[in-house]
Amino acid sequence: MVTTLFPQTQNTMRKSLQTVFVLLVSLAAFSCGSSTTEQSFDSSRLTRMSQEEVEKVVEAFILAEDSSTIEIPEGFYELSTQLILDNRKSVTIKGAGMDKTVLSFRNLKSGGEGVKIVGNHITVEDLSIEDAPGDGLKAQHSDGITFRRVNVTWTNGDKSKNGTYAIYPVQCKNVLIDECIASHSKDAGIYVGQSENIIVKNSLAFGNVAGIEIENSDNAEVFGNTARDNSGGILVFNLPGLPKSDGKGTKIYDNDILNNNHENFATPLGDGPNGNTVTMIPPGSGVVLLAAKEVEIFNNRIHNNKTTGVAIASYQVTGFPTDAPNWSPYTTDVFVHDNSYERKALSIPDLSRELGQLISVHNAYGPAKTQDIIYDGIWDTGLSKTIDSNPMRVCIQEKGMENLHFTRFYLMDGEDNIESFKDYQLFQNCKVDVTTDVSALAGL
């Protein structure tokens, strides 16, 4: 059942690695173990609220009526139970400011997330959520959800204790995430899954494994954000076997995607990846597409990501089973244009993840060369015998393309026959129309 295209035979990979290992090991010191526990503000200065004040908030969520506002005054609230808003319409949950109202779930004893929202036309704004054992702020089965100026983070020094997603709308329609901050999550900071009609804008994601991730979702625009110091900056994935099987239509533009060189702490350091795809993201990834459909990436500043600025990959690179109904493992219809790239001198690609090793060892510019754009070159041979006709419709139109590091791999004959090419010309002078329409979100 497991596709044997590429990585899962680590042994062979290790052998080929040995040849360049001596060269890399001296440089590795520069690139290993980058980590941050930076906080946007110091929440310990806030007044600790009494048990009664905390229970008032819990009760306000439970007793909330339609078309009401739950105001949470300035202060530090230590919760031992979840805050759940259930099946309400037009409710606003409002704090006194991201650095003024802090809901801490450090003492939560059960429950998958700190704050959970189900309802229509719900807004959460001007507050912070800290230290939820699972996810920070989750919305599910909601139509019309706005998160504005919400900061979700973890304050553990040991980041292996952090939770999964910071801001987590899933199975939602009409999602607006605006001016939010998401940091230090073990998976994605801002994660929109199995949803449609999505805007993520003017937000900041840092110190996460994945900064911003759009997964199995339709019709998304991600713009004006900063994704920095994550392992991977901005991700567009489609995973198999989900109720919302394959998503399409994502535009990523006007973002700063910088220094995403954080160690991948989704699994304990030294442990390899597990079945969560995010554990495979090599530190130093700017934008990663995996089994993505119809994605346009333009006008972004993609700077100083040590492994690759943009990675265009099919699901086969995970080595996981690729059989699933109504879903395709290929990444198709991609348009990458008018972005700015910078590679830092002395930075070398990741060696902790197989995709990083592939890039380090096999890129077309020599061992340990950071790449601007890589394409795994996996195509559906049912459509075309060769890749020359660009059967997966990947179009790249960057200024100064000849000065960028572009590698197209050939991985389809097993790990002993990996090849790489600089042939960006195959993917130029074409255009993919990616259509998104988020006008329905104008009223949110």
């Binding site: 699972g134 999964t164 220094n259 442990d271 969560n276 059989d323």
Partner: protein
């Protein structure tokens, strides 16, 4: 971009420790003192503040001796809740009946499902001294089911509505004669929905035909409990046990491992892990009749499991119970890892063994 140094680390650890220490003192103990509450009359406006106001039980409240119109019931298998024992009753409004249509029981407005959670002081004498912790009501109101948790006082004379939840320490001697202490968590009202949820509508879990379609000992005689309900005049449309599916008790060692495992997964997991449940996001569907290997988690990678995945690749790795995320999460008590997410702070050892045996039996 700064590397954590040991000082910062030590400081953080100190801060964490002091937080833990201080919260330990403030921990709310379950003290549902009835005294400050005014008397209330059973005016039909639910929910009442006190459990006694409903008049479900005759005589001493803690004896849980049901009034005439209140009927005892028991599902074939029980959802594990930290080894708590449960006694369940249904109250259908006088003159009305629940009815079976297709494979589903529809209850009339005003129906109340009553579930009491208690611990015997000594599990070797389950009928002996006991402490009732909470009583959860599911009330079928005009706009659907609503859940209301009632917390019992220490004197065991009353239980009071507590929508924000609570926690309380429970001590007992287990079936092997060992002393046990559990930090029992009473869910807040909206957490109830985390399990009692079908397509975002509050729904009962146990009162489905397949869970109730079995014989129960009513003292005088053993009888199929749905037939018993029909005789009592609170149910119509039941056409005999053969006409409907019936779950087995996962504790019944005479049944096959597969059937027992499916019964266990259904009652413990499927309320979330089904197409209409909150965990539909995962694509892992654990209903008793699930036959699609991918949906059962066999060689299926996780989706949003986070640290719940441990160091493993698949939800269920056939033949490899100790490399399966399913058993890893059942064996954990860490919030964020442990499954189910609510209602369990201890490990259900017997349940883990059953699921291990099932995974072991799957062909690789």
């Amino acid at each position: 971009m700064e590397k954590m140094n040991w000082k910062a680390c030590a400081l953080a650890a100190l801060a964490a420790l002091s937080l833990l220490a201080s919260c330990g003192k403030n921990e709310e103990k379950a003290q549902a003192s009835a005294s400050p509450l005014p008397e209330e009359a059973p005016d039909g406006k639910y929910p009442y503040k006190r459990l006694s106001t409903y008049g479900f039980f005759e005589g001493e409240l803690k004896a849980l001796y049901p009034a005439e119109e209140v009927v005892f019931y028991k599902p074939a298998s029980s959802l594990f809740t930290d080894y708590a024992l449960k006694s369940r009753f249904v109250s259908v409004p006088a003159g009305e009946k629940a009815s079976i249509s297709g494979q589903q029981i529809d209850f009339p407005t005003g129906t109340i499902l009553i579930k009491n959670f208690y611990y015997p002081a000594d599990f070797r004498k389950p009928e002996g001294e006991r402490r009732i912790i909470e009583t959860r009501l599911l009330i079928h109101e005009a706009d659907g089911w609503q859940a209301y948790p009632y917390l019992w006082n220490e004197e065991q004379t009353e239980a009071v509505l507590k929508v924000v939840g609570a926690e309380t320490e429970v001590k007992f001697v287990d079936a092997n004669g060992k002393d046990q202490i559990i930090n029992y968590l009473v869910p807040n009202k909206n957490q109830c929905k985390s399990c009692h949820n079908q397509s975002e509508t509050m729904a009962p879990i146990g009162v489905k035909i397949q869970h109730l379609n079995h014989a129960l000992d009513y003292g005088a005689a053993k009888e199929n409990q749905l037939a018993h309900w029909q005789e009592k005049g609170i149910l119509e449309g039941f056409e005999g046990s053969e006409a409907y599916p019936a779950m087995i008790n996962y504790e019944d060692p005479s049944q096959s491992i597969t059937d027992r495992a499916m019964a266990y997964l259904d009652i413990n997991c499927s309320h979330c892990h089904s197409a209409g449940g909150p965990a539909s996001t995962s694509g892992l569907f654990l209903t008793f009749d699930q036959s699609d290997p991918l949906k059962l988690g066999i060689n299926k990678t996780p989706v949003a499991a986070g640290k719940g995945a441990g160091s493993f690749t698949f939800d269920v790795a056939p033949g490899k119970p100790d490399e399966s995320i399913l058993t890893y999460r059942m064996r954990s008590t860490e919030v964020g890892v442990a499954m189910p997410e609510l209602g369990r702070t201890t490990i259900h050892e017997e349940g883990v063994e059953l699921i291990r045996a099932w995974i072991q039996s799957l062909p690789q």
